[in-house]
């Protein structure tokens, strides 16, 4: 049964040290507020899964919260590199992390296999690609009908998935729209799912019947956090803060400046601060 909780309670109830966790979002709807709450609660030894680990994983890796990262694009989207993740991978600072690297097709198929309850995903991929030689989780199977050799990767099954979405209704059903990314698969592949939403509405009676709605019984907890995906965006609510992504490149380039930024903007802040961060990005309705 889904619970409406404060973000602090939702994170504390569902995330634990050593968990395999996905904070998913494909440029759009990145669950930044949930990740910052996880930072404030100080979890350790996490295995972080995400197709496009961007600022939030750069922050968690830079704080030494991760023992392993599973990903397919470890960049600052549209800007360049992730400098805290680089420091960990290149220099072991602040700790060494294990790396499991895939392509987008590999990760997307693996999430889908997780949602489908399959042990692995089969697809046409990694042909001639160097990743197959450095990632032991990339294997191949032969089609029993045609003899074609196809790529196989294990299904992704997170202990917990966090996503951000537009809205929930009072029963706890959740609407995701716009660039929906891998969110539905990441929720259905996980043992538990926590969703932050912009708002709660009375009901979904007027929605188009084919929209992406996650039924309440697929979700463990919902927290209302307006602006909760900043500096990413929420389609229909506020735009992407591109300037913040550009600025992050400078903040993350320096270990001390990074720590100062985390102290001010995460440790000494709360989920309530996100609404103010998107005020200048809200479109005229």
């Amino acid at each position: 049964m889904v619970k409406f909780l404060s973000l602090k309670e939702a994170v504390a109830e569902n995330l634990h040290d050593g968990d395999t966790v996905a904070f998913e979002g494909f440029t759009h709807l990145i669950p930044t507020a949930a990740a910052h709450e996880a930072i404030r609660q100080g979890f350790r030894d996490l295995t972080l899964i995400r197709m496009t680990p961007d600022l939030i994983y750069d922050q968690m890796i830079g704080l030494g919260m991760a023992k392993k990262i599973v990903f397919s694009y470890v960049g600052n989207p549209g800007v360049g590199l992730l400098r805290r993740a680089r420091d960990a991978i290149e220099n072991g600072f602040p700790r060494l992390i294990d790396v499991e690297e895939h392509s987008h097709a590999g990760m997307a198929n693996a999430y889908e296999a997780g949602a489908a309850g399959l042990p692995c995903a089969v697809f046409r991929g990694y042909r001639g690609a160097g990743l197959a030689a450095v990632n032991p989780n990339i294997k191949s199977v032969t089609c029993p009908f045609t003899g074609e050799v196809l790529a196989a990767v294990p299904a992704i099954r997170p202990d917990v998935t966090f996503i951000h979405a537009q809205k929930a209704d009072r029963k706890g059903n959740v609407l995701v729209e716009g660039i929906i990314g891998i969110q539905k698969e990441a929720v259905l592949a996980a043992r538990r799912a926590v969703v932050t939403v912009e708002e709660v509405v009375d009901n979904f009676d007027d929605l188009h019947p084919n929209l992406t709605v996650l039924p309440s019984w697929t979700i463990a907890a919902i927290s209302v956090v307006p602006g909760g995906s900043h500096p990413s965006y929420t389609h229909g609510y506020y735009e992407r803060d591109n300037a913040a992504y550009l600025e992050w490149d400078e903040i993350a380039a320096d270990r001390d400046r990074f720590q100062a930024w985390i102290k001010k903007n995460v440790i000494e802040s709360s989920a309530d601060d996100f609404a103010g961060r998107v005020e200048h990005l809200r479109k005229a309705a």
Partner: protein
């Protein structure tokens, strides 16, 4: 450079415009971010108005007014014919064989069109950890053809890449066929100095056209392998006024749109 020598366009503008000319209205193009994105949208705004542009965030048939900073900007979704989930994008649309052109950039490129965007140095102990492949490993093998665009430099165009992120023609010749890959792979390389095409037999990229004012020496000096030139070497037509205006207007709109101020940040 005196005014008399000023061609009226930059090498990067020439690169983007030359790349845009390679695209047709009936192409279905999987667009990489950066230089490919600019070229694809100039094509759409000039000679190829009906081109289908697809970004890996799931946006199909998108027509952005400004260039997206990321592959998932809201503008892409708002102007698209439809937006699908990421697994559907890679399974049905790319793997399903619906993409005619995969348009990629490169950090490191070799003469057979193999691309590295993963690491500089050893994979386990990299000197520089780059973002990695994202969608590119499968774009490179499932699109019917691959176009590549990048500015020339000795660091970027190298004899041997450090990591095979995206497979081009491998060691050349019939390497793709030997791996069972039935798509054409890289068929066109557009740099800031020249247009290159693979040799029909060896698959080594060969210069077929020099941009206006560019010499063979300049192409060689900015390339890490010994460059082969076609016997009949063309000169790339200079950008037209319409092409230049379209590109510059697009870039000006993009710059204005991305110049927002980050509030609530340290």
């Amino acid at each position: 450079m005196s005014d008399a020598d000023d061609p009226g366009f930059t090498p990067n503008e020439m690169m983007t415009i030359a790349a845009s000319r390679a695209l047709k209205s009936d192409d279905v193009c999987f667009v990489g971010i950066g230089a490919p994105s600019a070229a694809c949208n100039v094509a759409r705004l000039t000679h190829a108005p009906d081109i289908t542009l697809i970004y890996e965030s799931g946006t199909i048939g998108t027509a952005p007014d400004v260039l997206p900073l990321s592959i998932g900007d809201g503008e892409l979704c708002e102007t698209a014919v439809t937006t699908v989930a990421v697994p559907e994008m890679f399974r049905y649309w790319l793997q399903g064989g619906r993409i005619s052109i995969g348009f990629l950039g490169a950090a490191q490129l070799d003469k057979f069109g193999n691309i590295n965007t993963t690491v500089i140095g050893d994979y386990a102990h990299p000197k520089t950890r780059l973002p990695g492949g994202g969608g590119a490993p499968e774009i490179a093998t499932s699109s019917r053809q691959v176009y590549i665009t990048m500015a020339q430099s000795k660091r970027g165009m190298v004899e041997k890449i450090d990591f095979f992120t995206s497979f081009g023609h491998g060691e050349g010749s019939d390497h793709r066929e030997r791996l069972g890959i039935d798509t054409a792979g890289p068929t066109l390389l557009i740099t800031d100095l020249a247009i290159w095409k693979p040799d029909p037999v060896t698959k080594e990229f060969t210069v077929v056209s020099l941009h206006p004012g560019v010499t063979r020496e300049q192409v060689q000096e900015t390339c890490g392998w010994t460059v082969k030139f076609a016997e009949a070497l063309d000169e790339t037509p200079a950008p037209t006024e319409l092409e230049l205006k379209t590109l510059r207007d697009l870039q000006a709109r993009t710059k204005a749109a991305h110049a927002g101020i980050a509030k609530g940040k340290a």
